[in-house]
């Protein structure tokens, strides 16, 4: 075949172009500046931080060998039972596995998704959690163990649902947006959501970032006392914080009387928040977890106040590492949505897979890149209140996928635990871990692999 003759002058050949991309003003930053200039308004989006931060992937386990004795991977027992809320509550939460579903609101998610989460949690023997916007009938009926959030907005918060709950979670902050309140854009405020939140339909809803009836930790102690009085000291009270000054905040949560502290790192997701919050506020889950454990240890509260960690927990390995660093349980939000089909190029309806790529394109994104929960136009029917789109998620099919996902993670967890010689996943310990990077070693306070060096602790 004859090649077309390139008769351009030599200086116009691409090889002669000056195409050095700026580090500071790369195409991502250019896009940000152009968008800001065009709209005069910050970007609001869903899900969590996209940038790389030190994470559990930067740690590896030191399994059994000559110096440690492993358990046989399939035949020897490895317990996963997890009890939360033993400090003051008369009825602590007993879970079969240490992996729970994180708080996600009805409003951000459809009622069908809340039902799927509840069904899966019940089958798995774990808990699910309400969110900003109150408790739906669907999730209460489908969930054996339901944690009821007490949020700054108090949308839909009422004593009847409080008494129906199995535990109460006072939410101070969220890892995706510590210091920020929730958002739900108008397209998701349908009549049912508006009614539950006592808001006009279709408004861009901003949740408060501070609680209306307490400010500091001394007030919180009295607030927790009130919640216990209303519920007759039966239910565990969790306090959830977004990871920032985690060491101090965990101590204050314990001081305030929490039975359980939930620490949500910066990789945690959201239904809608300013990108500047998601990417630039808060600290990584890895650093937050270690600070939280240190705070509990210094107060001699390890094992008395349980620690739940969330924010970017995706795999059984992540769960195992979180437990080894000192968490009693983990909580998963985004991973659960992905198990339901978030970012899939198809959805499953009437027995067959149907193409969703056109609907991704209509909201100017594509499968694998979508973070458009805020639009309410979720192409796979998860983060939507649209009555057509929401039918793309069958609660029973969704529940099966969630159950499979959590079971897989739990199997991976016990596999690693056995390899480390543990007959109970809660026996995993920091000594079982080393770090692959100096940053992770410093944050998690475990040695850099192949050395005894823990930055900031010994050596340097």
């Amino acid at each position: 075949m004859n090649k077309p003759v390139d008769d351009r002058p030599a200086t116009e050949h691409p090889a002669h172009f000056s195409l050095e991309e700026s580090w500071g003003y790369d195409r991502k930053v250019l896009d940000y500046i152009r968008s800001a200039a065009a709209h005069g308004l910050y970007e609001i989006r869903g899900l969590g931080a996209k940038r790389h931060v030190p994470h559990f992937d930067d740690l590896v386990f030191l399994a059994g060998s000559a110096s440690r004795y492993p358990l046989e991977g399939y035949r020897e027992k490895c317990h996963t039972r997890t009890v939360l809320g033993t400090r003051y509550a008369r009825k602590p939460i007993e879970l079969d596995i240490p992996i729970t579903f994180a708080g996600m609101s009805f409003g951000s998610l459809s009622a069908r998704v809340k039902e799927a989460l509840g069904r899966a949690a019940t089958e798995l023997g774990t808990s699910t959690t309400t969110g900003d916007g109150g408790m739906t009938r669907e999730e209460r009926e489908s969930s054996r163990t339901l944690v009821y959030q007490c949020l700054p907005s108090r949308y839909g918060f009422n004593p009847d649902d409080l008494r129906k709950a199995d535990a109460i979670e006072v939410v101070i902050g969220q890892g995706a947006k510590p210091g920020g309140g929730g958002m739900l854009l108008g397209q998701k405020i349908n009549p049912r959501v508006a009614g539950m939140r006592t808001l006009p339909e279709g408004i861009d809803q901003r949740s408060a970032c501070r609680h209306p009836d307490w400010t500091g930790p001394d007030d919180l102690a009295i607030k927790i006392e009130e919640l216990r009085e209303i519920t007759d000291w039966e239910k565990p009270i969790y306090v959830k914080i977004g990871a920032t000054r985690t060491y101090n905040d965990v101590k204050l949560a314990v001081h305030s009387g929490a039975d359980v502290v939930v620490v949500d790192g910066m990789q945690g997701g959201t239904a809608a928040t300013q990108t500047v919050f998601i990417e630039h506020v808060g600290i990584p889950t890895l650093a937050a977890l270690r600070q939280a454990v240190e705070a509990l240890e210094e107060m001699d509260m390890r094992g008395k106040v349980q620690l739940v960690v969330s924010g970017g927990i995706r795999t059984g390995a992540d769960v195992a590492k979180a437990l080894a660093l000192g968490a009693d349980a983990v909580s998963i939000g985004q991973g659960a949505l992905m198990a339901l089909g978030c970012n899939n190029d198809t959805f499953f309806q009437d027995g067959e897979h149907r193409d969703a790529t056109g609907d991704y394109a209509r909201i100017q994104t594509a499968p694998g890149f979508c973070h458009h929960c805020h639009t309410g136009r979720c192409p796979v029917g998860i983060t939507t209140q649209d009555e057509v789109l929401e039918t793309r998620l069958d609660p029973l099919v969704g529940a099966r996928h969630l159950r499979n996902y959590f079971k897989t993670m739990n199997m991976e967890l016990t596999t690693v635990a056995r390899a480390c010689g543990k007959s109970n996943v809660h026996h995993l310990e920091r000594e079982d871990l080393v770090a692959l990077t100096i940053e992770a070693a410093a944050m998690a306070k475990v040695p850099l692999a192949g050395t005894h060096w823990i930055p900031g602790v010994n050596g340097l």
Binding site: R154, F157, P200, D204, P212, D213
Partner: protein, 239 residues
């Protein structure tokens, strides 16, 4: 406890002395034993500023608290009529659903916060953030209210016979505020509007409900300008 309740049932009266018993005893009685006890009126003596007195009541009963209460008195109340013959701390009747709570004295911060229903009457002044995040409750204040009151108030009415502090009704949704005295300043998106016949009738009804003197014509109406209901790039970013 059961013996106490049974004895009291004869005349429907029960006295709870918090100098002798705990708040937990009181609340357990109100939650569990009260409905079948025949008790219709509970006197609470020596409250001593304790917190969460009569919190979470879920039954029609008259409760008189003879003295000062601490935080969250009658928190999340449903159905009960609670009268405090003294002052109260933060969050009196917070998240109330129904019933009536009357404070004869003064109320500290966040009175009636996030209340969904019922009536809160404060005969004296209420401090900062009165009616914050209210969601349908009616609050009637005989005296004045502090700064930041009715912040993000969603539904219901706040009637103030005295003055209002700074930033009244900041980020209001659909709640309506009536003020007789001076308003030091309005919060973002709050504005003074004309009183209509509906407003006059509502003020009359609220004053009557509280047993306060006054004429509807003396009151100003404050409501949301609804300019913050949707994100707006041209809005003043300092709000």
């Amino acid at each position: 406890m059961e013996r106490v309740a049974a004895r009291a049932a004869a005349n429907g009266e029960l006295t709870f002395d918090l100098g002798q018993r705990t708040v937990r005893d009181l609340n357990q009685f109100l939650h569990h034993d009260l409905p079948d006890s025949g008790v219709r009126h509970v006197e609470v003596l020596h409250p001593g500023g304790r917190h969460a007195i009569a919190a979470g009541v879920n039954h029609p009963v008259d409760i008189d608290v003879r003295g000062h209460g601490g935080y969250y008195l009658a928190g999340m109340n449903k159905f009960a009529t609670v009268t405090v013959h003294g002052n109260v701390g933060w969050g009196v009747a917070e998240n109330m659903m129904s019933g009536v709570v009357r404070v004869k004295g003064f109320a500290s911060e966040s009175a009636g916060a996030s209340g969904h229903g019922g009536t809160l009457i404060i005969e004296g002044d209420a401090s900062l953030r009165c009616g914050i995040s209210m969601k349908g409750i009616d609050i009637v204040v005989g005296g004045s209210i502090g700064n930041y009151s009715a912040f993000m108030a969603q539904a219901g009415h706040l009637l103030v016979c005295g003055d209002a502090g700074h930033a009244l009704g900041d980020s209001l949704y659909e709640a309506v505020i009536y003020v007789r005295g001076r308003i030091r300043s309005l919060g973002a998106d709050a504005r003074i509007e004309e009183m209509t016949d509906v407003d006059h009738a509502k003020v009359r009804e609220l004053l009557d409900r509280a047993g306060f003197a006054g004429e509807p014509e003396e009151f100003k109406r404050v409501a949301s300008a609804r300019q913050l209901y949707h994100w707006n790039a041209d809005a003043n970013q300092e709000y």
